[in-house]
């Protein structure tokens, strides 16, 4: 670039030239001192984040101003800076020497029109809405009977006091557990979000109330925080949001399953639910009983009417008649059945006889055969037996022949008997002279008288007759073999 001097230069000696750095430094100092705290309004035409710092351009119809906001200052801005946003930037003017670039070092950015918080709210609301976090479809029902109530709030604030005031009207059936948090200032949002998560790691809570009393929009900021919104959205326990006064709407209110206008209202809601249930239950009971009673009453009336009705009486008569007939029928049946076994028994006996006979007939040929066999055997045996007996008899007869006294007599011997006695005489001493005796011969008998007798010599006296067996034929016969 060539320096042009269109007009005549002053006569004075030319100034000592600055070095570039010197000049920039001098200008920079002037800028800083003259515009130490300046506010400038314009539309954000460029916005970049690099290393946590924000780089931007502001423009209006004809001008453009570059700017920078350091990370520490940027963190305090609640909303997101985006291109197209009308903002008022406060800061100091400065010169960026390496590029010879004039810029504003911002320490605050405010949206034009609505406040920063309002803008932040709108921006977060739009973002979460786009994610569907406010979708009515994902809202859970508050249980009909919330008995165990979790409350995330300040333990010393108005909210918990209001809640407990309302709940203490009930003397039974409600348990309240408080997670104490900071509800405003640095760390409040993180604290509240952690409280919501802590309750969700526990079992048994029916409903979770996030509560805070009334305050300025800045006081309620924690409940417009994205972290709280996300903790509420992730809550397993159905949530009730009760923040500030009735007119305050927070992001928490939008995400929670139910919004209560105030903390007291949240408590009322819980209590009323229970009261309503008690009433409903009592109503159900009454209706059940009444319905059944009236139905029973109708049924009883109907029954009474029916029992008097002529038709029923006729029916009863008919019934009795039928009953009698059934009785008669039963009697006949019974006696018929009783006769039955006897006739059966007779028939069975006859049949058995036939069967037995038949069996016998069937056995006849075999029996006859056997009988013939037996007869033959019997005949044979009998014949043998008879033969044996005949032979024996013959032998015996021969033996007897020898033994028979008659046989002896046949050989010429004789036997003498005293008259009238049956035993033979062995000794002459047994008779007296003149005594009558009988003498038996082989053929016939002699009646004789003893004329005289000769006694045997004493030495040769016969044996004592007493020793002789009575009935024996004497020594003569004893010598004979058996």
């Amino acid at each position: 670039m060539t320096l042009m001097y269109p007009r005549a230069v002053p006569a004075a000696a030319p100034p000592r030239p600055y070095t570039v750095s010197e000049l920039l430094s001098e200008v920079a100092a002037k800028l800083r001192s003259s515009w130490r705290d300046v506010a400038v309004v314009g539309e954000v035409s460029r916005w970049e984040l690099r290393g946590g710092h924000g780089y931007f351009s502001l423009k209006d119809r004809t001008g453009c101003l570059h700017g920078i906001i350091f990370a520490s200052d940027l963190a305090r801005i609640p909303f997101r800076v985006t291109a197209g946003l009308e903002v008022v930037v406060r800061g100091s003017l400065d010169l960026f020497a390496p590029q010879g670039k004039f810029q504003i070092k911002a320490y605050a950015v405010e949206p034009v029109g609505a406040g920063a918080l309002q803008l932040a709210f709108e921006q977060l609301k739009a973002k979460l809405a786009a994610e569907g976090l406010f979708d009515p479809a994902r809202k859970r029902r508050i249980p009909a009977l919330p008995a165990r109530i979790a409350v995330v709030t300040s333990p010393s604030g108005a909210a918990i006091r209001d809640i407990l005031n309302v709940l203490s009207r009930r003397h039974d059936g409600l348990s309240v557990t408080i997670y104490p948090v900071k509800v405003q200032g640095d760390g409040a949002a993180a604290d509240v979000a952690e409280g919501i998560r802590r309750f969700n790691r526990q079992e048994g809570f029916d409903v979770l109330i996030v509560a805070r009393g009334g305050g300025s929009p800045e006081d309620l900021a924690a409940f417009n925080d994205e972290r709280v919104a996300r903790a509420l959205a992730a809550s397993r326990i159905p949530t009730i949001s009760a923040i500030g006064h009735e007119t305050d709407i927070t992001i928490s209110d939008l995400v929670a399953d139910l919004r209560a206008p105030t903390p007291s209202a949240a408590a009322e809601l819980v209590v009323e639910r229970k009261d309503a249930l008690v009433r409903l239950l009592s109503d159900f009971r009454g209706r059940l009983t009444r319905a059944l009673r009236s139905r029973l009453g109708i049924a009883r009336g109907l029954l009474a009417g029916l029992s008097r009705a002529e038709g029923l009486l006729r029916f009863r008569y008919r019934l009795r008649e039928l009953k009698e007939r059934v009785g008669q029928g039963r009697g006949a049946l019974v006696s018929a059945l009783e006769r039955r076994p006897q006739s059966y028994a007779a028939r069975v006996a006859a049949a058995r006889k036939v069967l037995v006979n038949f069996q016998r007939v069937a056995e006849l040929p075999r029996r006859a055969e056997r009988a013939r066999g037996l007869e033959a055997t019997l005949r044979e045996r009998m014949a043998k037996h008879i033969a044996r007996r005949k032979e024996r008899l013959r032998q015996d007869a021969a033996k007897l022949e020898i033994l028979s006294p008659l046989a002896i007599l046949a050989r010429g011997y004789a036997v003498a008997y005293r008259e009238g006695a049956r035993a033979p005489l062995f000794s002459a001493s047994q008779v007296r002279a003149g005594e009558r005796i009988r003498v038996r011969l082989h053929e016939g008998e002699l009646k004789a008288v003893v004329r005289e007798k000769s006694e045997p010599a004493p030495g040769s006296a016969p044996e004592d007759p007493a020793r002789k067996p009575t009935g024996s034929l004497g020594p003569l016969f004893e010598e004979l073999p058996e």
Binding site: A144, R148, T177
Partner: protein, 88 residues
């Protein structure tokens, strides 16, 4: 969690409501009606029990017990002032 899921209060109330409606409709036989009446009364007893079986209590979580879940009774006296601001 029990293996067999216990009937919830809400389920019982819903069933009870249905029974009341059915009994009032007069469309059922007396026997069926009586059967429903008995079931209804049993459900009412169950619900009544649920309404009263929680002990009244107010507790505060002790945050200092990191990780561990500890509570102690919350004293109403801790609420100070007539109209305490939200202060921490």
């Amino acid at each position: 969690m029990k293996a067999r899921k216990e009937k919830t209060f809400e389920e019982a109330m819903e069933r009870l409501e249905a029974i009341v409606a059915a009994i009032e409709s007069d469309e059922l036989g007396l026997e069926k009606q009586f059967e429903l009446f008995q079931e209804g009364m049993a459900l009412a007893r169950f619900c009544d029990g649920k309404l009263t079986d929680v002990q009244k209590s107010v507790e505060i979580v002790l945050k200092e017990s990191a990780g561990e879940w500890k509570t102690e009774q919350f004293e109403a006296a801790e609420i100070s002032g007539e109209d305490a601001d939200e202060v921490d």
